[in-house]
Amino acid sequence: AQSVSQHNHHVILSEAASLELGCNYSYGGTVNLFWYVQYPGQHLQLLLMYFSGYPLVKGIKGFEAEFIKSKFSFNLRKPSVQWSDTAEYFCAVNPNGANNLFFGTGTRLTVIP
């Protein structure tokens, strides 16, 4: 079955450490890719998205993600995390012009001060 995979379920980092969260998908053809963040007790907010062009996209709060088509991946990165980045991060895929998003299971990030 087609899917979106986030293999890291819970990541714990110290402040200033670098972050990379993996996201792989299995949909073929054209895809649009998203990372959403959910801070504790809040709703999902868009961090960044990719739909065409240069494969490295920059989002809010210093996050970036790289689309590697050959690897079906869209990993999220941040060079130096802060305590306020503690949240759950969801990768989502909009495949082949479909009108809804398919989400990964999420990665919980805990940043220790």
Binding site: H43, A98, N99, L101, G106
Partner: protein, 114 residues
């Protein structure tokens, strides 16, 4: 305030009761969605709607009913609530353009079925 709002934010109900979760958006987005969020499953699509009076099933529609008589409202009804429907429910809306879909989410409704 403009945006997408859900009500109630929290709800406790008994097994077998009918429950309706409300969702209202002020952007006139054509698409609206209902997701449920559960540990280990992420977000799963229950139903979505492409426009008023057009709805379609998502990944986990069983036990739920939706309607969309007006563009701005997309209520979700649990006809006879079960404990397995205890979850956090998110409504979202989007306005597809340029071949991509960015969804805007409501604050969520935490539903507990006892």
């Amino acid at each position: 305030d403009a945006g997408i709002t859900q009500s109630p934010r929290y709800k406790i109900t008994e097994t077998g009761r009918q429950v309706t979760l409300m969702c209202h958006q002020t952007w006139s987005h054509s698409y609206m969605f209902w997701y449920r969020q559960d540990l280990g499953h992420g977000l799963r699509l229950i139903y979505y709607s492409a426009a008023a009076d057009i709805t379609d099933k998502g990944e986990v529609p069983d036990g739920y009913v939706v309607s969309r008589s007006k563009t701005e409202n997309f209520p979700l009804t649990l006809e006879s609530a079960t404990r397995s429907q205890t979850s956090v429910y998110f409504c979202a809306s989007s306005y597809p353009g340029q071949g991509h879909t960015e969804a805007f989410f409501g604050q969520g409704t935490r539903l507990t079925v006892v």
